[in-house]
């Protein structure tokens, strides 16, 4: 078979399988991709993950089908010692490849940047995020320490509780910080992940979209009980939230008196090792 036929046949197989597989990936895999629709940010991630999957599928198929094709057709016949054609390159193909991969990669970077700067994408945005959503925000401070998360609500007198409860459809500003080592606050269903660093106020904006219970895990190795640093948070209605926060205020009233005043960060005592 002449070279052109190989190229044409391989091209046809690749294009047909791409046309079949890519929509299948989007339709079948898209809805089950993480992290679900717990918040606006989480739904955004599902879209991003689906787009990336859809872009990766043709590339995956190109190389894998090529590999299989070449294994089947470009073999040394049994017992022979034939040489292949002495082709050392193809300037046009190389240029095309460079142009196409560059275009793909640049569009990925632009897409990622746009999606990131739309709403912060639930990723830790540092002490002064570039994009701050307009409208009222409920500030909640997440304090990580070995090996638990606690939460302070500065607009409710700086009350500190071991439970995270958020009102639904309300933009929340999470101020994540640590008292000792580096932790990472991961609210899986909300699509939130942000490192908790000592002396840093790492800000994330998230807007939960429906009532739910979500998982909270530490995602940065923080010592021996890192694996046990998990919990559940709740998204409740606005009225249920108001009742809950009042209960918490009375439950932790005594503890509140000995708490340090609310602050963006708390400088931990230096750990001195002494030799």
């Amino acid at each position: 078979m002449a070279e052109r036929n190989h190229a044409r046949r391989f091209g046809a197989i690749w294009i047909v399988s791409t046309l079949i597989a890519t929509p299948l990936v989007v339709v079948l895999l898209g809805p089950i991709l993480p992290p679900g629709n717990g918040s606006e940010q989480a739904s955004g991630h599902v879209t991003d993950n689906t787009v990336l999957m859809a872009m990766a599928t043709p590339v995956l198929l190109l190389v894998v089908i090529y590999l299989i094709y070449s294994i089947i057709y470009f073999r040394q016949p049994q017992g022979a010692a034939l040489e292949g054609p002495a082709v050392r390159g193809n300037a046009r193909l190389q240029t095309t490849w460079i142009v196409i991969t560059s275009a793909l990669v640049l569009s990925l970077a632009v897409y990622g940047t746009v999606r990131l700067e739309e709403d912060g994408a639930g990723a830790g945005g540092g002490p002064s995020p570039l994009v701050v959503p307009s409208g009222p925000k409920l500030p909640v401070q997440v304090i990580a320490q070995q090996w638990a998360f606690t939460y302070r609500y500065p607009t409710y007198g700086g009350i500190e509780t071991p439970h995270l409860v958020l009102p639904v459809n309300q933009m929340v500003e999470l101020n994540i910080t640590s008292l000792d080592v580096i932790h990472s606050f991961w609210a899986y269903q909300l699509g939130v992940k942000a490192d908790a660093n000592p002396n840093v106020d790492n800000i994330v904006y998230v807007k939960p979209t429906h009532l739910q219970t979500f998982e909270i895990r530490c995602a940065e190795l923080c010592g021996i009980w890192h694996g046990a640093m998990f919990d559940h948070g709740h998204v409740v209605s606005a009225s249920a939230f108001a009742t809950w926060i009042q209960q918490e205020q009375s439950t932790f009233a005594a503890a509140h008196k000995v708490l340090p005043p609310y602050s963006k960060t708390y400088i931990p005592e230096p750990t001195r090792r002494g030799g």
Partner: protein
């Protein structure tokens, strides 16, 4: 006394056994190493004003342990004879540039400046630590059979995780650079030795000392930080952390020196006619890797020095309360850490591109593209490190830049894939064991690269960062990229290095079991990561247990495939000892043209090059005149 005289062989002139044991050899090295260790231990106790104890107590005395390691390593190196040359020169005595380049088996157990001996020393030494690291992985997977800590305590478990990661990232950095670059680069470029033979031997023995130091961490409580050693957990950890610091600093030193040596050798010692455009592609990959090693490793040494000062004399580079910042550690560590992963990947590119022409009977397709791909990866890998810190809150406004630079790095990586595919086009491929490992590389690295796209995109990375998804990704790139090509290189070149051949059937069994088990182990980890399982935990959601059991069993099968390799090695190379043909792969590369075993000085006459080593294939036919191949 009389018995020793009788036992003497004619070759060794009258020296009794006890006299032969005294001198600069491995025995003195171990004795001086242990002596140095206790000297440092003693001095450390004097400095810190604590009473001297032979037995270490966890979290007792970091100064003493670090000094003990330091003096131990110095004693070890002096015992091996590394001080002889500089001391002789200082005293004005004649000194030999090259040492122990005879033919005895003894030269493998001490300081030897023959690059071929060092290559084999590296292969065996690194192989041992590779198996230790692999055993750690088996224990980790044993623990993860159950969603709560059962087999190990949390501290033991984290120590295993840390040792596995650090061992693999540290020792296997030189997995191809150590054995194969040291052995074959001088031969491939027509040189009789490396530029700095003494330095070459030093890099190996530093690595061995480092390996034992890392293993010794189990006596000092282990370390809880994983291979990244993040502050302030690092500062908080017990004495086992000092083993990590010392290990990685020594590995960094070994890497930097190895890189320096490779650059000097490749740039200055090429034979006449071997221009840069004729250099074997493997040598190009070694050159690119060496540049990365020289530029990245010093940052590692510096950051570990800072960490050790924080731990010992209470500086506060990383202590928040003292004005330091853990961000500094993250930044410096990943400034080393990201080039480091390309140090692991690039030699793999070189191996694949070097072996494909031999087994496809075609010239390397797109030589210049491949070279620019490697150099592009080398350059860009210094501009991407903060993609490890997308959610850390550090320089959040710069994330679009790191997203862009990280995604751009897939362009030069794509060059390598195009060159592989171009070389396979209309090839006459023979699927020998090395070729199978190269083909597996194409698949593994493709999966690794495509999953990397998810991690380079900040919104997507928010889901996957710190989860098993990352773990699966870098096992696909490092194990799938480096270890598969490491085995390709072993099956391809060990017949040259030893003159013996492997059992083909066992080798194929090893390949297929390893390839299937590898994918069956790491593919489900993508799913586990996406379902929310973080890395480095011994406790996970009970609904993930089924998949974890699947992964663990696959991992055990993967471990078993390594045993097949081990059995094949022992069986074929020690017991059966079938002689390999002089050029079993019909390669046109220079290393297959020299006699086996390779003479001490490699070449009688320095060769002269008039082409690159890829003169395979029949010249291009006139259009349409080519006969149809069978099977079409």
């Amino acid at each position: 006394m009389s018995t020793t005289t009788e036992a003497q062989t004619p070759e060794t002139p009258s020296r009794p056994l006890w006299r032969r044991l005294i001198g600069f050899n491995l025995l003195s090295a171990v004795l001086l190493g242990v002596g140095g260790y206790y000297l440092g231990w003693f001095i450390g106790h004097q400095i810190s004003g604590k009473s001297f104890e032979f037995q270490a107590k966890t979290d007792e005395n970091d100064v003493a342990l670090l000094l003990a390691y330091f003096f131990g390593v110095v004693g070890f190196l002096i015992g091996l004879g590394f001080a002889n040359y500089p001391v002789s020169r200082l005293l004005g005595r004649p000194a030999s540039l090259r040492e122990k380049e005879d033919h005895g088996i003894g030269r493998y157990f001490g300081l030897c400046t023959d690059h071929k001996v060092v290559g084999i020393q590296y292969l065996v030494g690194i192989g041992v630590f590779f198996f230790v690291g692999g055993l750690n992985a088996m224990l980790i997977r044993t623990e993860l059979l159950h969603p709560t800590p059962t087999a190990f305590g949390p501290n033991q478990y984290l120590s295993l995780v840390g040792m596995h990661g650090t061992m693999m990232m540290g020792m296997m950095t030189s997995g191809i650079m150590g054995p194969f670059a040291n052995y074959f680069v001088p031969i491939m470029i027509g040189a009789r030795r490396m530029a700095f033979p003494r330095l070459e031997a030093l890099t190996f023995w530093l690595l061995m000392a480092a390996g034992f130091i890392l293993v010794s961490t189990i006596f000092f409580g282990g370390f809880p930080t994983g291979w990244t050693g993040y502050e302030p957990l690092n500062d908080q950890a017990v004495m086992g952390m000092d083993s990590y610091i010392c290990f990685f600093a020594l590995v960094g030193l070994s890497m930097a020196l190895l890189g320096l040596n490779m650059i000097a050798t490749i740039v200055t010692m090429r034979a006449p006619g071997l221009t840069f455009s004729r250099l074997p592609i493997f040598v190009w990959s070694v050159l690119a890797t060496a540049v990365l090693m020289v530029l990245a490793a010093p940052t590692l040494i510096a950051v570990l020095l800072m960490a050790s000062l924080d731990r010992t004399i209470n500086t506060s580079f990383f202590v928040v309360g003292g004005g330091g910042s853990p961000y500094l550690f993250e930044n410096l560590f990943w400034f080393f850490g990201h080039p480091e992963v390309y140090v692991l990947a690039l030699p793999g590119f070189g191996i694949v591109l070097e072996l494909l022409p031999v087994f496809t009977r075609k010239p390397l397709w797109g030589y210049r593209l491949a070279v620019s791909g490697m150099l592009g990866v080398t350059l860009l890998s210094f501009f991407v490190w903060q993609h490890h810190l997308f959610v850390s809150g550090i320089n959040a406004d710069l994330r679009p830049f790191y997203m862009l630079s990280t995604e751009i790095i897939s362009i030069p990586t794509g060059f390598i894939f195009l060159c592989v595919m171009g070389t396979l086009w209309k090839a006459r491929s023979t699927f020998t064991v090395p070729m199978l490992f190269c083909m597996a590389w194409v698949f593994n690295f493709l999966i690794g690269g495509l999953s990397g796209v998810f991690l380079s995109d900040t919104p997507s990375d928010t889901d996957t960062h710190g989860s098993f998804f990352v773990m699966a990704h870098f096992h696909y790139t490092i194990m799938g990229g480096l270890i598969f090509t490491f085995f390709a290189a072993i099956y391809y070149w060990v017949p040259k290095m030893t003159g013996l051949r492997f059992n083909e059937r066992l080798a194929k069994a090893h390949f297929w079991l390893m390839f299937v088990a590898f994918n069956s182990t790491f593919m489900p980890l993508f799913v586990l990561g996406m379902k929310g399982m973080p890395r480095r935990v011994s406790q996970y959601a009970p609904n993930l247990q089924g998949l974890n059991i699947w992964v663990s069993i696959s991992a055990f099968v993967l471990g078993f495939s390594m045993l097949i390799f081990l059995y094949n090695t022992v069986y074929s190379l020690i017991f059966v000892r079938l002689r390999a043909e002089s050029n079993p792969w019909r390669s046109k590369s220079l290393e297959w043209q020299v006699p086996t075993p390779v003479p001490v000085h490699n070449f009688e006459q320095i060769p002269v090059f008039d082409s690159d080593p890829y003169e395979y294939g029949t010249p291009l036919p006139v259009a349409g005149a080519e006969p149809a191949p069978a099977g079409a």
